[in-house]
């Protein structure tokens, strides 16, 4: 059952409930062979359940899962984890506490492979940038980041068709987290392994994969490339989850949307009150210079917070609630100054009053 060819992954109409409570509902998702998909969602969104269904630790109540050519779960089919040809790395690595690093990495190799295991293990450790001298250590003698990399090497040893990563970086310190993430991402790309990562971390969601799937309340809210997900979210909750937002009440009529910042969109199917959403970096704050009009509206600084590289201005915009806009570079603003405020792109428009619109950012 050991495969060296990466396989694509397809989920069709997956449903799962625990004790009558639905956790996942009609999930459709395709992960192309050799690509990386991030499933992102807040805790309780069902993302870990989805990964456990892919791993074969649990089975769906409805729908089918296909890995490569094999249907691994579906009506009358329930292939358990050990026969799926997958790799799995959990939140804390789940290394075998009674085995050395070497024996952990070699655990999944069969006898024939074990004869060459010395070289295999060293190669794998090198692949995840671990010193070969660590091979004889016990897991509890390693740091968290090292443990995660051993777990990855162990999972890669069998050349899995699909690598499944369950929040593998969340237990690491901030600095270590991004370094380990980049390293793991590179190692997986180099090996060309189809990868599914589950996370609640927005940075991880946007940097790790070729495709992002936003999971909310057991349903897929949106699937797309990281760029599309960030700049063209289909609902406000997704927008908030993936980055900071500035939301302004607006009015749509005749396809155009107008708010306190002027006309912010040229085509919309909505009509009546709506919401205009910007990313903070899409609003430009400028000094008012006599005689020159950069096309923005005029706002007054009513609050100023030093944040290191940036300053967060609280702006009083006529016809709007105060807006918080970060500025970099010019540090000479003072409270009471009047500035111009101008969007650099069109806003993303959302209808008002939708359930998702006002839900708090996690």
């Amino acid at each position: 059952m050991r495969r060296t060819e990466p396989g694509d992954v397809e989920l069709r109409a997956i449903g799962k409930s625990y004790g009558g409570t639905p956790v996942l509902d009609s999930i459709d998702l395709t992960v192309p062979a050799g690509s990386k998909t991030v499933i992102v969602g807040s805790s309780g969104s069902g993302k870990t359940t989805l990964l456990r269904l892919l791993s074969g630790f649990d089975f769906p109540d409805a729908g089918t899962i296909r890995i490569g050519k094999d249907t691994v779960a579906g009506p009358g089919v329930a292939i358990p984890a050990h026969r799926r040809g997958i790799g799995h790395v959990s939140q804390d690595g789940a290394l075998f506490p009674h085995l050395t690093v070497r024996d952990n990495v070699a655990f999944g190799l069969d006898r024939h492979q074990r004869s060459e295991r010395m070289t295999t293990v060293s190669e794998l450790l090198e692949l995840v940038s671990l010193d070969a001298g660590l091979a004889d250590r016990r897991p509890d003698e390693l740091s968290g980041g090292q443990q995660q990399r051993v777990a990855l090497a162990r999972a890669m040893a069998r050349k899995p068709r699909v690598m499944l990563l369950d929040e593998p970086f969340s237990s690491l310190d901030t600095g270590l987290r991004s370094a380990t993430r980049d390293l793991v991402s590179e190692a997986l790309s180099a090996a060309g392994i189809t990868t599914v990562l589950v996370t609640h971390d927005r940075a991880e969601a946007l940097t790790f994969g070729d495709q992002v799937a936003m999971l909310r309340d057991g349903r897929l809210a949106q699937v797309g490339t990281p760029t599309a997900m960030y700049s063209m979210p289909t609902d406000l909750a997704t927008a908030r989850f993936l980055g900071d937002v500035i939301v302004i009440e607006a009015l749509a009529s005749g396809g155009r949307v107008e708010c306190a910042l002027g006309i912010v969109a040229q085509s919309t199917s909505l009509d009546g009150p709506c919401l205009a959403m910007f990313r903070p970096e899409q609003l430009r704050v400028g000094r008012l210079t006599a005689g020159a009009d950069d096309g923005g509206c005029i706002a007054r600084i009513i609050g100023l917070e030093y944040q290191g590289a940036t300053r967060l201005l609280t702006l009083d915009v006529p016809g709007s609630v105060p807006l918080e806009v970060p500025v970099t570079g010019d540090t000479r603003y003072l409270v009471g100054d009047r500035v111009s405020l101008r969007p650099t792109t069109e806003a993303v428009i959302f209808p008002t009053g939708r359930a998702g619109a006002s839900s708090p950012t996690p």
Binding site: H82, H98, G108
Partner: protein, 514 residues
């Protein structure tokens, strides 16, 4: 002041050292008699066919029973904790009940049911049924605490379920299996009643017989020396097998219960195994006692010594439990607050002493008392002192974990609010430790209620505890008359056994010191 800080209050140290050194009496006595007896005499006493026979019996008993208990205990624990066994929760409790039935009562139950029982296999059967929970209980506790994601990792690496159990689960159960097996081994070495009942001779039964025929004779002492050596071999062997292993779970992830595995075609066999265990270990002795009780009728309970025996047993057990807890406290306190090499040695002495058969401790105390303080001989003080040495670790283990759980900041807060250190300790820390102290005392209580061998040897004339009365009825072949005493011992033990079960939910080291 500085020295006080580092080493602990002098009074506490003196008390701890005193208690611990008292524990050296049995070992010291064995060595002393060996020296006094002299090489040639000793050799003549030790190297003879009778000793070889006893050695064969005792070693055979240990070598057969311990692995059997380990296998049965692990299998039962896995079925109860990890499979879809029908009635797993009920079986989880029922499999601990044998701990409430003293081995000699179990033996009596079996002999009543199958009078022809004798020889080593009968010994294995009875002892195995009495002691397997000592492996079952810690292994079940460990299974509950294993991180399921480690097993899932193994599955994701292409390893089939049974291989996962052998390669990942079993190695992580090594410490509870070893710990439980050691305790079973020590029990096998020190048990007298259960084997005497089926006329199976071990070192312990032989020593008791010797002692009763030739009081304080060199023959009994020589046998005791060999017995102590076997004990030490077990202790060293276990600690060697344990090695430097520490299989703490590494991650910090929230523990999630492991999924139960469907037994499928094995379900009937598994159900049969677990039900069979309960029927053989609990059903048979209880049924026998029930049968004798019915036969004795109401008249059986009108035994004029019954109430007296109950009162004496509770009296001894209460006094013993309280004394043991109080004297265990200094050692536990030093171990938690002022850990160091000296304290570790003091603590180890108490463990080793309690691992020696109670019989040896009793012999040593009788001999020492007769020679040095004859006024103590044939008094209950001597009995309580032996109980203390036998059951001290039960109190220490519990007090230690209780003390370790007290946040040190709380006592310091009390002191910063103007309480004298002693007042702060007794009003704040002691209150926190009370539940652990009660638990420790309860386990000592259980030990004393079901203690037979040392009590037989030491008790002042006229002492009638439940165990002694039971034993004398049995020796008079009055099985009907013995039944009410057996029933009362089990009833007294049941609540404490349940306490053990409840604690095993949270504490993996639950049987340490039993």
């Amino acid at each position: 002041m500085n020295r006080f800080r580092r080493r602990g209050p002098v009074a506490v140290i003196v008390m701890a050292a005193g208690v611990s050194l008292l524990g050296l009496v049995p070992l010291g006595y064995v060595v002393f008699t060996a020296v006094v007896t002299g090489g040639p005499t000793l050799a003549a006493l030790v190297f003879r066919p009778r000793v070889a026979e006893l050695l064969g019996n005792t070693a055979g008993l240990v070598v057969i029973t311990v692995p059997l208990c380990a296998m049965v205990g692990v299998a039962a624990a896995w079925l109860v904790e990890r499979s879809n066994l029908w009635g797993a929760r009920v079986f989880g409790v029922l499999l601990v009940v044998p701990l409430a039935i003293p081995a000699f009562v179990n033996s009596y139950g079996w002999v009543s049911a199958v009078p022809s029982l004798n020889g080593i296999w009968s010994g294995v059967l009875i002892a195995g049924l009495s002691y397997f929970p000592l492996v079952y209980l810690p292994v079940a506790a460990a299974l509950r605490r294993l991180d399921p994601s480690v097993e899932e990792s193994a599955a994701s690496l292409g390893v089939a379920p049974f291989a996962v159990f052998l390669r990942v689960v079993l190695p992580q159960l090594r410490l509870p299996i070893l710990g439980g097996s050691l305790i079973i081994g020590l029990h096998l070495l020190s048990e007298y009643g259960a084997f005497a009942m089926i006329r199976f001779d071990t070192f312990t039964t032989a020593i008791v017989d010797q002692f009763r025929s030739t009081f304080d004779g060199p023959a009994a002492n020589a046998l005791a020396g060999v017995l102590v050596l076997i004990c030490l071999v077990l202790l060293v062997g276990e600690s060697g097998a344990r090695g430097g292993a520490r299989y703490a779970r590494i991650g910090s992830g929230a523990a999630r219960p492991s999924a139960r595995r469907a037994l499928g075609a094995f379900a009937p066999a598994a159900q049969l195994l677990v039900s069979g265990l309960v029927i053989l270990s609990v059903g048979v002795p209880i049924a026998s006692i029930g049968r004798w009780l019915v036969q004795g009728g109401v008249a059986g309970w009108s035994d004029r010594y019954l109430a007296d025996a109950l009162a004496q047993t509770i009296g001894y057990a209460l006094v013993g439990a309280v004394v043991t807890c109080i004297l265990a406290f200094p050692i536990a306190l030093l171990a938690v607050r002022f850990p160091g090499r000296v304290v570790r040695v003091l603590e180890s002495i108490t463990y080793i002493t309690s691992s020696l058969p109670g019989l040896v401790t009793a012999l040593a105390f009788v001999a020492v008392a007769i020679r040095l303080v004859p006024t103590l001989y044939q008094t209950s003080v001597l009995v309580v002192a032996v109980y203390l040495l036998m059951f001290l670790p039960r109190a220490i283990v519990n007090l230690r974990s209780g003390l370790a759980q007290v946040p040190p900041g709380i006592e310091e807060a009390a002191r910063s609010l103007g309480r004298h250190p002693v007042v702060a300790f007794s009003t704040v820390t002691l209150r926190f430790v009370l539940p652990s102290a009660v638990a420790g005392a309860a386990l000592v209580f259980l030990g004393i209620v079901t203690e037979l061998t040392s009590t037989l040897l030491l008790a002042p004339n006229g002492t009638r505890t439940l165990a002694i009365q039971f034993w004398s009825r049995v020796n008079e072949i009055d099985y009907v008359g013995a039944a009410p005493y057996a029933a009362l011992m089990i009833l007294l033990s049941l609540p404490v056994t349940y306490l053990l079960f409840a604690r095993s939910r949270t504490d993996r080291k639950v049987v340490n010191g039993l």
